[in-house]
């Protein structure tokens, strides 16, 4: 079974635009953000045109509609992610979701000397909050290194890091290497040692059906904009036990029960952590994105994206001077392929590709420790999504060969 790519591409209006002097846009920066189908754009526009109001407050018609749509979005997303509405906290994205764990759970549950395990594969969003918390609380950070030969986490060191740890924070799928970590084993081992587990699923949720209940993690952080949704919205999935243990780190409207000048009491459940007027249109757009994906077979989506990455990595290997990072021979992983040319600077290469209509990423991808492990400061990165075609991947390789032939 395969995807009807013509039909899918027709759902994304931006894919038909021209760039760089009339060239077809080939959008290969999906790990940074994905494009939005018309149904997501329409859902947000319809909300603003017909139902815009603040939620959880007034009794008028629009307020009721807005509240119904916002809370319905929570139901849709909870269902998509295999959990209940009581276990889904809206955030601005993965970064805020991880910070919510750091400042909402870890700050009030960890004590001086407690250990948090992170890995060298993490995005900065899953490194910096723990460093800040370590400064404040005196917790210990244990770092699991990556084996750059196999492009996998050193699981022996991981196992050795667990005794005495209280929280394990691991990226599900690397935004640089496209490598998927053995999440089930990580969760099982961590729980056996009494540690909670936070999974950064920003790069996994777009092409793998995340089932929070089946996965068994204590926390999962997700961004909407990397899976066809709007920017500015994401969620933290958290077990009921974990939510009970959390304290709010942002306060204000919408998260309170009662406020007097002496003392406030807080709402219960997810709302306790959603201070202020929430991201209403964005939540509605996020749910529309999940509804869009729900019409596709996510196993087929995954195979399609991974197939494009495998094909591209294989073709890149035959371009003189190119080094490819990550193991793309395995079915697990994402649509990300990072590479470098040995004489054409990554930034120059990205500009030459842009001149040909190809949008790709250059830089450290907010994962400097990982790049340090490979001895590089930046890479070029292409990342495929469900609307990309093999013809686009082939055109990318062809243009790259032309540039390498001309400038190397």
């Amino acid at each position: 079974m395969s995807l009807d790519l013509d039909a899918i591409r027709a759902d994304f209006p931006i894919l038909s635009r021209k760039v760089s002097g009339g060239k077809d846009l080939v959008y290969l920066d999906n790990a940074a953000t994905t494009q939005k189908p018309q149904s997501v754009i329409d859902a947000m526009t319809h909300y603003y045109e017909q139902s815009n109001a603040n939620v959880h407050r007034a009794v008028h018609t629009l307020a009721a509609e807005a509240t119904e749509q916002y809370e319905s979005a929570r139901d849709t997303l909870a269902d998509w992610f295999g959990t209940t509405r009581d276990n889904l906290i809206f955030t601005s994205g993965t970064t805020e979701a991880i910070n919510l764990v750091a400042w909402g759970w870890a700050r009030s549950n960890l004590n001086t000397g407690d250990a948090v395990v992170i890995t060298e594969m993490e995005h900065h969003a899953d490194i910096v909050p723990w460093q800040l918390l370590a400064e404040e609380k005196g917790i210990e950070i244990r770092v699991v290194p990556i084996d750059t030969e196999s492009d996998t986490l050193d699981m022996e060191i991981f196992s050795a890091s667990l005794p005495g740890s209280r929280l394990v924070c691991v990226v599900h799928t690397s935004n640089v290497l496209g490598v998927a970590n053995p999440v089930a084993e990580i969760i099982s081992q961590s729980h056996d040692c009494g540690a909670k587990v936070l999974i950064d699923a920003a790069q996994a949720a777009p092409h793998e059906k995340i089932d929070f209940t089946a996965m068994g993690a204590d926390f999962v952080a997700i961004s909407g904009h990397k899976m066809c949704g709007p920017t500015g919205i994401g969620c933290l999935l958290a077990t009921s036990e974990s939510i009970e243990e959390m304290e709010p780190f942002m306060s204000g409207g919408d998260m309170i029960e009662t406020v007097t000048m002496e003392k406030s009491t807080f709402a219960t459940g997810p709302q306790k952590f959603e201070a202020g007027t929430p991201k209403i249109a964005e939540a509605i757009g996020f749910a529309a994105a999940a509804e869009y994906l729900s019409k596709l077979d996510m196993k087929v989506v995954h195979s399609h994206i991974r197939g494009l990455a495998t094909y591209t990595a294989s073709e890149l290997q035959s371009v003189p001077g190119i080094t490819v990072y990550g193991d793309h021979s395995v079915p697990e992983g994402s649509g990300v392929v990072s590479f470098l040319h040995d004489s054409i600077h990554a930034e120059d290469l990205a500009r030459f590709m842009d001149a040909g209509g190809f949008a790709m990423r250059t830089g450290h991808h907010c994962a400097q420790p990982l790049l340090d492990a490979y001895g590089v400061t930046s890479t070029n990165r292409v990342s495929f999504y469900l609307y990309n075609t093999k013809a686009e991947a082939a055109a990318f390789i062809e243009h790259l060969r032309y540039i390498v032939g001309k400038f190397a």
Binding site: S20, G21, H345, A346, E347, D348, R351, F352, D354, A355, G356, T362, G363, S378, K406, F407
Partner: protein, 139 residues
């Protein structure tokens, strides 16, 4: 804005080209024309922060006029440095401080002006103007 003759000639040369690929190729050629800051003079003090590439710039006064030398590992950034040399070198530092980098736009290289934390050109131009500002007291 009236640009120096050499810069105006470069602007005209770029403005005649409509293919962005060709314009970048021309910048590659311009990279060799920069008032070069050799790699052995690159250090933390003259590094331009916020670039995806390694870029360095040193500036000085000669007879009260401003001069810059630069170097970058990305050839397109170094090409933009060479063009910037045409814009700023030989001017009083007071004029350098007030310059708008619109010559890049006139050359059809507007993408290089995109505000971004990783934009080598804008960070480089700002650094040159900061250097000019600090040299104004020495003029």
């Amino acid at each position: 804005m009236t640009w120096p003759e050499a810069l105006q000639a470069a602007i005209d040369e770029f403005a005649d080209v409509f293919d962005p690929m060709e314009r970048y190729e021309m910048l590659f050629e311009w990279a060799a024309e920069v008032n070069e800051l050799p790699v052995d003079e690159w250090n933390d003090d003259n590094m331009i922060h916020g670039c995806q590439s390694q870029a360095h710039v040193m500036c000085h006064l000669e007879d009260g006029q401003f001069y810059m030398r630069g170097g970058a590992d990305a050839q397109i950034v170094q090409g933009l440095m060479a063009i910037t040399c045409l814009a700023v070198n030989g001017r009083p530092p007071e004029e350098v401080v007030d310059l708008e980098p619109t010559f890049v736009d006139e050359m059809g290289l507007k993408a290089s002006l995109t505000p971004s934390r990783s934009n080598g050109f804008l960070n480089m131009f700002k650094r040159v103007q900061d250097e000019a500002r600090s040299l104004m007291g020495d003029a």
